[in-house]
């Protein structure tokens, strides 16, 4: 594990925080969009297992994590103060695939990992920028870092379930509208139900579809075999080493229900 000083841990939206950890450039160099870190929350034993978070952005000698408070680990994380030290393991998992002519679809905190992708893509560092970003949340208050996203000059389409900002309804409605016009590769991250719908859209419009998946992880490094996602051939994929990004067609749809 590496140790780094917390330089920022700031509330960004309802229950969503932006955490910055100081990391040597040497280590940062090995980080790729789509990968994640496993962060040890405290020195004590509850919570016991470090929690996984996507790399949200990288900036000189700081790595950023964008996280939502959902349980005891993320709650504890949100209480950590600037100046304290955190331990983390990473980068873990496989980078995003290198796509062209694709769109991004993010639901809620699923947006986190795409920040780093945009950073790299804009600098033409081995990733291409998406043609459009579709970003949905429950309500306006849960949409985060819009100005950061927009700073890349890529068009961002927004939806909220309650219509408090952007299109009223599911983000997948907007994605379908887009696909109806012109099929494009999809890279999506978000809640299970959204991913299920995206997989169905991908099949309907016959476009290659990549899903960034989630499951409870323990080791994050292929040691425990705990992070399985059923594949369609009644086999199991291991999220932490085979993922977290998977081709939608590989995944058993039953997993989403």
């Amino acid at each position: 594990m590496y140790k780094g000083k917390v330089v920022l841990n700031k509330r960004e939206a309802k229950n969503i925080y932006l955490l910055g950890i100081e990391v040597s450039k040497e280590i940062l160099k090995s980080f790729n969009p789509g990968q994640f870190l496993k962060i040890k929350i405290n020195e004590r034993m509850d919570p016991l297992i470090p929690r996984p978070f996507s790399i949200h952005a990288v900036d000189k000698n700081v790595v950023y994590i964008l996280y939502q408070v959902v349980g005891k680990g993320t709650k504890a994380l949100s209480e950590i103060k600037k100046g304290e030290t955190l331990e983390f393991l990473g980068p873990l998992g496989k980078p995003f695939p290198k796509l062209k002519n694709y769109i991004i679809c993010a639901g809620g905190i699923g947006i986190a990992g795409f920040g780093f992708l945009l950073q790299k893509a804009i600098k033409k560092r081995s990733f291409y920028p998406p043609e459009k970003i579709f970003y949905g949340a429950k309500t306006k208050d849960e949409l985060v870092r819009l100005s950061f996203l927009k700073s890349f000059g890529i068009s961002v389409e927004i939806s909220t379930d309650d219509g408090s900002k952007g299109y009223k309804g599911f983000i997948t409605d907007l994605v379908e509208r887009e696909l109806r016009e012109k099929p494009k590769i999809i890279l999506a991250c978000g809640p299970k139900l959204m991913l299920k719908k995206i997989k169905e859209l991908g099949e309907k419009y016959k476009v290659k579809t990549y899903l960034v998946m989630e499951t409870f992880l323990a080791c994050g490094v292929g040691f425990c075999m705990g992070c399985v996602i059923p594949s369609k051939e009644r086999n199991y994929l291991h999220l932490c080493i085979d993922g977290p990004t998977f081709l939608a067609e590989e995944i058993d749809i039953g997993f989403f229900s």
């Binding site: 034993m45 016991l48 499951t215 409870f216 323990a218 490094v221 040691f223 009644r234 199991y236």
Partner: protein
Amino acid sequence: MDFSVKIKNLKLKTPLMLASGTWGLGENLDKFFASEEIKKNIGALVTKGISIKERKGNPPPRLFETPCGLINSIGIENPGIKEFKKNYLPKIINYGVPVIVNLYGERIEDFVELASELKEEKVDGIELNISCPNVEKGGLYFSRDPKSVSELIKEVRRVWGKFLAVKLSPVGPVFEIAEICEKCFADALVVANTYPALAVISIKPFKILQGGLSGPAIKPLTLRLVYEIANKVKIPVIGCGGIISGKDALEYLLCGAKAFQVGTANLIDPRSAIRIMQELRNFKDGLRNKSNPC
């Protein structure tokens, strides 16, 4: 300070073993350890449970965190003994420390076949897993029935002369089974596997996960078992349960364990073994400097 131990005919550089199922199949241990670090810190490697045929394991969710503990229900996911020998074992042996293969079978014949398969391999020992709470057959079945354990060991002994350990379940007639293992010439006991546990993972809809509990939560329970079993049998006891620090390891040694295995700690940090051994060394040095070594 010399930490080498001899457990029957097995010579270990340190008393620390990586526990079964908590370091994958060894494919990427070298991503986290330098070759010298393994040789200096890890006394032995105990493989994931290996069965005759490939096992895909249980459907998700397979993990759930509880207060200071982890429930797992992996279901012995493994490629089967043939594939294991071909594609995984050579790399594991190559790490240069004693290798103990954890065997999982449903019937006595399975264990005998598995042991026979390993006869010609450069492995140093086997560990009979009669205590997995996450499988339908086998597993806990043996641990409830002392007679079948006695038969199991006798049959495996016909084909296997090298080091043979039995990994006990912490539940059931554990003292009786420990004594039977001794009588049947097992070389060592591993005390213990995970504890049968249950978590409610969703209240509505009501969903539960049944599996085995490991980690610091159960350390006081397994420490007690080790203490009592080490007082009852003369064969070496290898402690396993909730070891996260060098102090935990030392406690097991003081309670009668000859060696110890580290499981869940590897999942928290893949390099835990290095830290644990370092802490254990510091501890022992500290104690020695105070007056006589403990």
